[in-house]
Symmetry: C2
Subunit: 342 residues, 2 copies
């Protein structure tokens, strides 16, 4: 670890985009280094997680979390190294996970941080398979999906941070798993590396319904939905009686100024007794400790694989984030804000 | 009880309507009286229940129950009197509930019937508050709605067979209850007679959202949906975090040839953690016995009121059913097929 610089860079929200964000909606600032107060630590951020939910924070609308204000640092999960500590439980050199945002340094306090053991797994996984996306997959799939052996599970955004985990867990749970992803490379990865039973390239078909019929001949029992929109409309029509739809995200809709229109479902949902439930990962906070223990072991055993898409440099976060909303990333997207070795 | 006639009347499906049914889609037939076989009984039908689900049986489409074939008797719940019995547990004069359809006489067997005690409550209630609609209200509201004291419950088709029961149960469960109904008479009944806290006349407002905002200032926690369509679209936008949507029916859509379009909800449902679940009353068959015991007591105590809309004469069933789909009935719609006293 080197000297602590006098200034650092951060990215703030400059404008609220109505549709697709542009790089000009973000602004890179250089500001003086803060000093940690009593009970606080100064963290040198190494990895910044980029996630679809951040698009919601750019809207000036009440949601489950307050929006980022204009001129405020973009929120985001981070993994970094403690470089100054006024907290008895954290010492300089500790690796910590926290929500310090799109910046090179941040101030953390005890309750909002979690110490990471860098021996167990690469520290970037604390933003990925062993972090928020992994917990989202594990808790959403099991707590809402309630999968049973022999059922058919469909996962949209199958190669993404959450989808890749859901599909592997579903396979281990004895389910048949069909992914939906964009492009042959992602589909091949999902089948060949992660062991999904099939993966539909939605960009290569103009009849997703027929493709689903082929790959899910016995219908769909659990749909883990990361995308919403027309892809989900097609999946819905293949749901079996008693199906569960896990609403995790709707990335296809996040850049829309207004909600689009979709075929009405309630009459269909009555006949099929479909349960559709939206969730936020923090709803299941009480499950994180056991889930992380299990997931860590599966990763260590090589039974649970993961793919990260790491982009270097904080200054590239806006462009990478815009690409994420377009589906350009391949695996869990992160920014390497600084070198692990300082 | 008089002599058993040699023929009887029944109504069969003549055509499958694509949109609103017409009277010509039904046909009245006179057919010879059947004889009950071993273990069967002949029932003189007194009350025929008319319910929205019957529209679904007129479609030639797989659903949770098979469609009525062209030339087959329309299905329906009935209450009647045993006039011939080859079953040891049923004797002539017993009042029984069963699913004998749109006809004056029907053959029942033991397992598909239930004996009614005519002392406890008017026998027509076995088609209504103490029958399928009452069970639908009780089980759907409590098993899926999971209401809590102090929550706000909205019920569409509030004066209908199911809605009127849901609202009264919700009041007794300590909830604030807002109905939605068509016309001042139904709204006044729901508030003044049944004790709902408020009732919105959807025909008298062109801004249902504003009306909901007025009457549900703290948002909506449970929505018992009998209607679907634009009314439900408006309700949905007022759902609170953790809201439950009980999908019981979608009568506004039953005459539509194709599902219409609705605003996309999944992104909203994620943020609000909404659970939406469709059900069929028979899903909760294991709950009927205790539910009926409780509901019977509440009716006896005068704490649970009900309103029936009884139309005389089997020949009027098609017109009454068409009116039901238009919301013209006021309370649980039934056909008095024959006099109770024979």
């Amino acid at each position: 670890m080197g000297m602590i610089p006098e200034t650092y860079r951060r990215i703030v929200l400059a404008n609220r985009p109505l549709t697709e964000p542009a790089e000009t909606d973000f602004s890179l600032e250089v500001v003086p280094m803060p000093e940690p107060g009593p009970g606080q630590v100064l963290v040198r951020i190494i990895y910044l997680s980029l996630d679809p939910y951040m698009r919601g924070r750019m809207r000036d609308a009440a949601s489950y979390a307050p929006p980022v204000g204009i001129g405020e640092v973009m929120t985001g999960g981070t993994v970094g190294e403690v470089v100054l500590s006024n907290h008895t439980e954290y010492k300089v050199g500790d690796i910590v996970e926290g929500r310090l945002g799109w910046q090179e340094f941040g101030i953390g306090d005890g309750p909002s941080m979690r110490k990471i053991d860098p021996i167990l797994a690469p520290i970037s996984t604390a933003n990925g398979i062993l972090g928020m996306p992994g917990m989202t997959a594990y808790c959403g799939f099991f707590e809402i999906g309630m999968p049973k052996v022999g059922e058919t599970v469909v996962v949209s955004a199958a190669s993404g941070a959450v989808g890749q985990v859901v599909g592997q867990l579903a396979r281990m749970a004895g389910c048949r798993v069909v992914g939906i992803a964009g492009g042959p490379t992602k589909c091949a990865y999902v089948c060949d590396e992660l062991g999904f039973d099939a993966c539909i390239d939605y960009k290569a078909t103009n009849d997703l319904g027929a493709a689903l019929q082929d790959d899910c001949a016995e219908g769909i029992d659990v749909y883990f939905d990361n995308v919403g929109g027309p892809i989900s409309d097609a999946v819905t029509l293949h749901l079996n009686t008693w199906a569960r739809v896990i609403l995790c995200g709707a990335i296809s809709q996040y850049n829309a100024a207004e909600p689009g229109l979709a075929p009405r479902l309630p009459a269909f949902f009555v006949g099929r007794r479909v349960t559709m439930r939206g969730f936020i990962v923090s709803d299941f906070a009480a499950h994180f400790e056991p889930a992380r223990r299990i997931m860590s072991r599966l990763v260590e055993q090589g039974r649970l694989k993961y793919r990260e898409d790491i982009v270097d440099g904080l200054e590239n976060a806006p462009r990478a984030f815009i690409g994420l909303l377009r589906g350009e990333n391949f695996g869990k997207l992160q920014i390497r804000v600084a070198s692990e070795t300082g």
